[in-house]
Symmetry: C2
Subunit: 84 residues, 2 copies
């Protein structure tokens, strides 16, 4: 269980962390034309459900990372609004 | 636990399903310029770790959805190679 926890921390750091370069890419190029709005809208909804799922299973690793991912996804949706 | 399982199925359908329109968008526009390779490479690595995490926690919902997501992510990376 100790090992699973550490693995979950690493796994989440990667799947959540992967969103960060996408944010920077949009800011740098000032373009989000090829980025799918539908992708990130459905993603945000799913992350919200994962949050509840993690809470019901008392899986704090799931709760932590999906909360952070949800925040980053909302940032990307805001940027897509700005840069179309 | 029944409800958590159903919620996990829905949550995964959304976070994994959200990748599908991104695949179609790239195929339709024949362009993936604004799509970050780094995003999907790190994402794929993280999904692999989530697969192991889900196995260690005997959480088959996590295993199922991360396996599918990993496959879709590899498709996007292949498309990015094709359409640069």
């Amino acid at each position: 269980m100790e090992f699973a926890f550490l693995l979950g921390i690493m796994a989440g750091a990667m799947t959540t962390g992967s969103i960060v370069p996408q944010v920077f890419k949009i800011v740098e190029s000032k373009s989000a034309r090829d980025v799918s709005t539908l992708f990130f809208v459905i993603m945000a909804g799913g992350m919200l459900l994962w949050l509840v799922y993690g809470t019901l299973r008392s899986d704090m690793v799931i709760v932590l990372w999906n909360g952070l991912s949800l925040g980053l996804t909302l940032v990307i949706l805001a940027l897509k609004k700005v840069y179309a």
